[in-house]
């Protein structure tokens, strides 16, 4: 258990999330990719808080702000997906090619 190990795992989580965001067609799956990326950064934040920042409570505040950002991202994402679905009947990105009109 070390800072390097934790950052490595965080990088892997972030990379898997990025792969999901780039490769998935469905909106909800793309959001899952975003959540994974945020998950990785949360882990990196806490690792740095523990090993490199001397347990400064601001590190924890940053971590809960990241969590809040995750929730806001999810709520707005779902709301937008619902709106797009209602008005365009699209559930995957390919169907939005007429977004420009």
């Amino acid at each position: 258990m070390s800072l390097q190990g934790a950052l490595l795992i965080a990088a892997a989580l972030f990379a898997v999330g990025l792969y999901g965001v780039l490769s998935q067609q469905s909106f909800v799956m793309i959001m899952m990719g975003f959540e994974l990326m945020v998950n990785g950064s949360l882990m990196a934040t806490v690792a740095l808080w523990l090993w490199a920042a001397g347990g400064n409570p601001k590190g924890q505040v940053l971590a809960i702000v990241i969590m809040t950002a995750m929730a806001i991202e999810a709520a707005m994402g779902f709301a937008l997906v619902t709106t797009i679905y209602r008005t365009r009947k699209a559930d995957i990105t390919e169907k939005l090619r007429r977004l420009k009109q």
């Binding site: 809960i64 969590m67 809040t68 929730a71 806001i72 999810a74 709520a75 779902f78 709301a79 619902t82």
Partner: protein
């Protein structure tokens, strides 16, 4: 490391409960007769099952779910507040009144928009 010992108890309790139930199920399943095709038809109140249940399903409370997503986040801030409340005193009480009233506005808005019911 005292806290981690307590958590290892929790983990062991969780793991052993799951393992025991799964093991019991595995043992009991060895005596089971294989279900016949008519027995495997899902019960649908007497109507013939025509489609898989796993289909697109419009959960009509989805607006409430979005409200929950954001409202739940408030708890993240309120638990640490409760811990330090008595040592911080009146500052803490003012802050939490502001915080709670901001969030209560959200509920009020949702209720006013009638988005708590099925849509």
């Amino acid at each position: 490391m005292v806290a981690l010992a307590a958590f290892s108890v929790i983990l062991a309790i969780l793991g052993s409960s799951i393992a025991l139930v799964l093991a019991g199920r595995w043992v009991a399943a060895r005596a089971d007769l294989p279900a016949t095709a008519p027995e495997r038809v899902p019960f649908s109140g007497g109507l013939p099952p025509e489609v898989h249940a796993w289909n697109r399903f419009h959960a009509r409370y989805y607006v409430m779910a979005l409200l929950f997503l954001t409202f739940d986040m408030e708890m993240v801030y309120m638990f640490p507040w409760a811990v330090v409340f008595r040592s911080e005193g009146t500052v803490a009480i003012g802050e939490i009144f502001v915080f709670i009233s901001i969030l209560a506005l959200g509920i009020l808005y949702a209720w006013r928009e009638r988005s708590l019911g099925w849509s």
